[in-house]
Symmetry: C2
Subunit: 112 residues, 2 copies
Amino acid sequence: MEKIPEYCKVEDALGILVGKWKPIILLHLLQKGTLRFNELRRIMPEITQKMLTKQLRELEDEDIIDRVVYPQVPPKVEYSITKYGQTLEPILEAMHEWGMNHTMHKMKQKNM
Amino acid sequence: MEKIPEYCKVEDALGILVGKWKPIILLHLLQKGTLRFNELRRIMPEITQKMLTKQLRELEDEDIIDRVVYPQVPPKVEYSITKYGQTLEPILEAMHEWGMNHTMHKMKQKNM
DNA sequence: TGGTATAGTACACAAAATGATACTATGGAG
DNA sequence: CTCCATAGTATCATTTTGTGTACTATACCA
């Protein structure tokens, strides 16, 4: 394995990926391409409006997702992954797959 | 991309990977194989003792790292990645690499 | 006229994560 | 006798994250 440099870059990656919701939001966006605010809410019913807004803003600030506002009433706002955000796909995919196997691992431990 | 199942497994992966410190601890352990408590502290001077202890315990509980206590004074405790923990390597590698590129991305934005 | 839908914001509050600092036990070195 | 080193624990303060509820504007539908 390659040596970790003095100023460990992994922390930067984390700043963007961590939080209870970001990876899930990103996985859904990767999957569907584009989603409106309330579509995201319906997909993740446990997240509050405030949290969703906050996470989306942070991802937008980091240039991971795009936010397009249509001047309509009722409002319409579409979110999608930026080109740059797509570079996160390998990490998200790896997490997703690992998560699956991890569930199996736990089931074994508990003899389910 | 494959469809995300009802009960999204990514959250499980996250429970283990998130936290400001876990991926960094794991990367160092992957790199060095085995490290003592204070060696980890020296490598990551910003982490507090309490946090390091906590993160290590959590990783141990999840069967990601091993903790071996040598009955000596002063105490000696060695940490290493379990076989199961090694399955996280692809994620950690992906994060590490992405973190590097992300730093470049930011430098470009700021014209550094 | 009243209800529904959208994409939020504002405020009060609770809970969880993280941080700062001090403290412990004890063998060995000087 | 004093100080150092190790691998922690204990306590308190602060920061981040999350929850709950109420509120907004306005086109469309009945």
